[in-house]
Symmetry: C2
Subunit: 174 residues, 2 copies
């Protein structure tokens, strides 16, 4: 019986948290004020400094370059954790494609380059605005348009698994 009560209470708590988060997400998405995810692209990100590169296989087949604004770069280089408010990290994603042009020069198939851009993702640190998602606002933009609340839901729980790096997977490439 105790176990059943415990389970019911737990279920109610989870449901409550979910409803609260969803309500906040809706409100945030609507008024753009307290959004738990990012709905506007920070300007100038394509000019930011380089953090590192990554490649994901499986269904993603993506090639990414991760850049940071000045606050991010300073924090990365000084190994400041948690990242301070104002940190913005952007991942530019492209398709991962073989380069016929380079392979011709090398004389064998070996070269892969960035193909068409697929999406742009952001992590913005604002411990008040994004308090419900660990202080980070997550953003995903395809053709300049933000993803919706449902699409954004897995970002926080997945990044939250990386407890040692304040939820940031990408390490700085020297």
């Amino acid at each position: 019986m105790r176990r059943l009560i415990f389970l019911l209470v737990t279920a109610a708590l989870i449901a409550g948290v979910f409803v609260t988060m969803t309500a906040k997400a809706r409100a945030g998405h609507a008024d753009g004020g307290a959004a738990p995810y990012v709905t506007t692209m920070p300007p100038g990100y394509r000019d930011w400094k380089f953090i590192s590169v990554a490649h994901e296989e499986a269904g993603l087949n993506s090639f990414s370059a991760v850049l940071g604004n000045d606050v991010a770069i300073k924090a990365y280089r000084a190994r400041t954790l948690p990242y301070p408010d104002g940190t913005i990290i952007v991942a530019l994603h492209y398709s991962f494609v073989p380069s016929e042009e380079n392979d011709k020069v090398f004389g064998k198939p070996q070269s892969f380059v960035a193909g068409a851009p697929t999406n742009v993702q952001f992590m913005i640190k604002d411990s008040k605005k994004y308090a419900v998602t660990g202080g980070w606002g997550f953003g995903h933009f395809k053709d300049g348009k933000p993803a919706d609340a449902t699409f954004m839901q897995p970002c926080f729980p997945c990044h939250a698994l990386d407890k040692n790096d304040d939820m940031v997977f990408t390490h700085y490439a020297p």
Copy 2:
């Protein structure tokens, strides 16, 4: 007989060109003035703007990020060809390694990241200083130290194959 004379003259010309180039290379390497390859790393390159990413398989197994100084970025974005004097392009090379940390989160092996840095390469446009190598000075640095003249010899003939892009293989990733 005519053919023999032609061959001898050709051989002499090739030898002459080679000796001249070698002499210039030696002089350049020694005094740093007219070097046909780059022996000093341009300062501040790690803060330059992002051009694109690449991955080379085969023996290289490299992950690279290509950055450019302001002259390079302006030329890339405006599609200015040939690249103007003052253009500097840098390729930061790392080993291409699987990320156990990311794979754990994804639940399957799919993620590759930048491992240890391997070398840093430069292309510097200076149509006078590097006239004998198409206006480009090539540089290769391992642990901050420049490669020697023998190591640098294949750079120019290989890049010269890319006639449509003023010898620059990397395209701009939007």
